[in-house]
Every structure is written in structure tokens, then in C-alpha cells.
Symmetry: C2
Subunit: 258 residues, 2 copies
């Protein structure tokens, strides 16, 4: 599914808050009319308030036979316009949208203009400092591989290990060069990790940090050294990978290690 996270209090269900999980759960249960048991919806993971998705995945056990295309049309006709189901697949009863994740891809859009663009205020964040693309590429290259990302995790994380593997970390300008767009692909990301990484990489690009500061941050394992968390509005969950989706990167992070 894709969603515009602007008007949601994040993915995870909360009483009296408009959330993706809550909205989707209500619609799925309505489609099943009065199911004997409440149907729960399981997402691949949470996204924070204001974070968007271009390819979030969720599963649920639906009690009736329904063709994929009819489920797709039914959900989209009942969901609000800021959530759109892109595809529906009937999966084996073993499949779990969260436990079977083998990787995730995130995108981050940073607007470079002096004043905020009215049309992008909910869909980008803003960066007013210099952007040295060579320095940024050096920094991004330091992210590739398996590393301990303790310096890049927000307090409140309940992860059992902070070791993650990044397969890809790249950036591009958009067509009119008004935005720099980052993409990160790895086997898993810690709480706020992408938003902290983008902050550090941009500070390197602005000359506020040494080109290889990320190597130092790996060693010192101190979140206070990577202070900036860039805003939620620029972050997009772009794709969720499951075992078999990407033969080049099959390794799933075992659930007991997360």
C-alpha cells in the first residue's frame, strides 16, 4: 500500500488516534461484515507520524473466499483517499508481513530552497546549508556493509542488537535540482535510523563534519554524537522485501536478533 502519512499519527494502532493500522483494521473488519472473531492486521513494521509509504506491506487472515482483485477494489473503495492499496496477494498461511521481512528500502526527500515550497511542505524536509555531493557520496559509501549502528539509533528503541547490513546507500538530485533524494536499502533499520543517517550525511556534505565521520561514529557508539534527526515529512518507506524477492540479498535478520 501507499499512504500519505501527513494526517496519521503513524502506523501503529492507538486509541483515539487516526493511524494506518487502525484505519485498515476497521475497513477489513467491515468488509468481513460481522466476523466471529476480530480480524487483526499485521504490518511489516511501524512508520512514525508524518512518515509516508510507497510500498508498505500488511497481512491479515480473512475468513471468506474473495478474489484478489475484489479485495483490492473493495479495500480501495472503503479506505480514505490518503491510503491506497496497490496490490493484493493471497499468501500461504505461514506468511507473516513482519517476521518474514528480508530487507527494506527507504527514500528521503530533502528540499534545498531557501523558503519552504508550499506544495512540498508535507512531502519533503528543508536543508539550507551547502550540499557538497562528493563529500556526501564518500559518507554514503561508508554506510555500505554490516555495521553497529548504535550511534544512529534514537532512544526508545527496543532492538536486541544494533548491527544491521546496508546494501545500498545513494543520492540523486531531482530533475530541477531543487531536491536531494536519498535511498537506503538494508536488511533492517533501527528506530529513527534513516532520519539520523540523513542528518549526519548532510552535515558531512555541509562541511560540518569530517568526510569519514561515520567511521568514527561506528566506533564510539554514542547517539549524542549524531544529534540531528531530520523531519518525518521527507521519509518514505519505499519497498519491503521478503525472502526470495531479491536473490542478491537473501539474508533475513532473524527475528530474535531484532
Amino acid at each position: 500500500m501507499a499512504y500519505d502519512g501527513t494526517n496519521f499519527s503513524g502506523f501503529q494502532r492507538q486509541p483515539n488516534e487516526r493511524t494506518i493500522e487502525g484505519t485498515l483494521t476497521k475497513v477489513v473488519n467491515k468488509m468481513a461484515k460481522s466476523p466471529k472473531e476480530h480480524i487483526s492486521v499485521y504490518g511489516s513494521g511501524r512508520t512514525d507520524a508524518g512518515v509516508h509509504a510507497l510500498g508498505q506491506v500488511a497481512h491479515f487472515d480473512f475468513p471468506y473466499d474473495l478474489k484478489e482483485i475484489n479485495m483490492l477494489k473493495g479495500l480501495n473503495s472503503m479506505l480514505p483517499l490518503d491510503i491506497k492499496i496497490l496490490d493484493v496477494k493471497i499468501v500461504s498461511s505461514n506468511f507473516h508481513a513482519r517476521y518474514d521481512v528480508s530487507g527494506k528500502k527507504y527514500m528521503y526527500r530533502m528540499y534545498l530552497g531557501e523558503f519552504k515550497n508550499p506544495f512540498k511542505r508535507f512531502y519533503t524536509a528543508q536543508w539550507k546549508f551547502p550540499v557538497d555531493i562528493n563529500k556526501i557520496n564518500i559518507a554514503l559509501n561508508d554506510l555500505i556493509g554490516e555495521h553497529d549502528f548504535t550511534s544512529f539509533v534514537a532512544s526508545g528503541s527496543s532492538a536486541k542488537t544494533n548491527v544491521r547490513t546496508i546494501y545500498e546507500a545513494k543520492c540523486n538530485f531531482n530533475s530541477d535540482k531543487s531536491e536531494i533524494i536519498f535511498e537506503f536499502y538494508g536488511n533492517g533499520f533501527l528506530y529513527n535510523m534513516v532520519r539520523i543517517l540523513v542528518g549526519v550525511v548532510l552535515e558531512i556534505g555541509a562541511g560540518k563534519r569530517n568526510e569519514h565521520d561515520i567511521l568514527r561514529l561506528y566506533k564510539i557508539k554514542d547517539r549524542n554524537e549524531a544529534r540531528r534527526t531530520v523531519p518525518a515529512s521527507g521519509l518514505y518507506l519505499k519497498h519491503v522485501y521478503y525472502e526470495g524477492d531479491d536473490p542478491k540479498h537473501p539474508t533475513k535478520l532473524p527475528y530474535h536478533q531484532r
Copy 2:
């Protein structure tokens, strides 16, 4: 100025409604601290609720000396994020943002997907029917020149004549072909005229009307024959031209004829 029209009740000031003119007037008066006389803001013309602008123009008489750059920064720092002043110019006291208009350019973005895109729901409208680009270009070509647009004006228009001159009428797909984007440049546009024109042109492209139906509509002068008004969300006031801006199209529509 540019503005995201989504959360405004249109340009024109109205009591108890959030409007562009109202918001701008409040900020300009605040910048002048307690001006002896209330400062009025004059726009190039109104835009309806939900209509956007990439290049709206307004003027006002400011009682103090202030450099253009300081007025620009001051306005942008006090205005809400859905209005952005792009440029400030000190003009002669004869200049009038509305009376001196020599032409306007509008853009219309129509999304072609089956389901609405969550990120485009406020910034496009949606068209689910066939789009024959050859037929659309034939229709757009019939718009060029001076015509009586009586069949293309919404009721409620107070225009003194419905004759307008269209200099350019064109369309393109966006880069991923998910949208068709129209552009209209003329010496003036009647109430809802662009939204009615886009509806007729798209109906021609969908085979619902004859390729040259616009020539027939010019003759019969009956608004009921062009029924569809496409939604405000896809419409953008792209540029306002003043005398001297475009030597190829200098003719301004005399005010007594509007």
C-alpha cells in the same frame, strides 16, 4: 506568489473564512505595525477554493520605505507555509495588479490512474476514460485565436463580454505518463472557463464528442452543452502577464470590456 489552495476558501476575502487575500492583508498590516489607514491588497484576480497558484500577483501601498529583499523575507517569515512569496518589486504608483493584466497562463493537471494517488489527491483531478492525444490536440487547436466563449462560462460570471483570445493551448504527459498536463495562455479567462475547457477537450479525447465540437459550441453559445466542470484541485494559476512582459502578445483586455 505561489500557494497551495487546498486549505483556503479561495483568493477573495470573506468574513470568517481562511482566504489568500485575507491572510496576506493581515500580514501586510501587521508588518506596517499600526498603519494610520488599513492597507488593502489587490490581486490579479480571484482563484476559487482549492485552486493553486505558481505565479499569482498582488499589489499594495506600503506606508514605509522597505527594501524589496526585506519585504520578501518579512512576508515569508510571517505568512503560513501554504503561501510563499516568490518575488517582491517596488512598482510605480500607477501600477494595478488587476487592471493592468495583459494575459494569464493556467495549468491543469489530470491524473490518469484507476485509483486516486494519495500524494496527488489535492494537486490533480482524476480522469478514468480513454485519452486519445491526437483528438485532444485537434480540440486544443480549435481554441487558438479570438472566440466568443459563452458556452464555456459558468453561471455567476459578471463579465461584460465573453470574447477572449487564446494564444496557446497545449498538453503533455508528465515523465511517468501518469498525468496529462494542460496549459492555456490567453488575454483573459472567464469564470470557470479553464475547468470547463479541460472537461470538453477530455471528452473529445475520450470519443464522447466530435473532434471539432468546440467549433459547434462557439456557435450555439449555450453553457448547458458543456456540462462538465473538472475539479478545482487540478488547476494552477501559472503566470500573470502585464503590459510589456510579452511583446508577442501585448494586447491587454480593456477593463471596461471584462
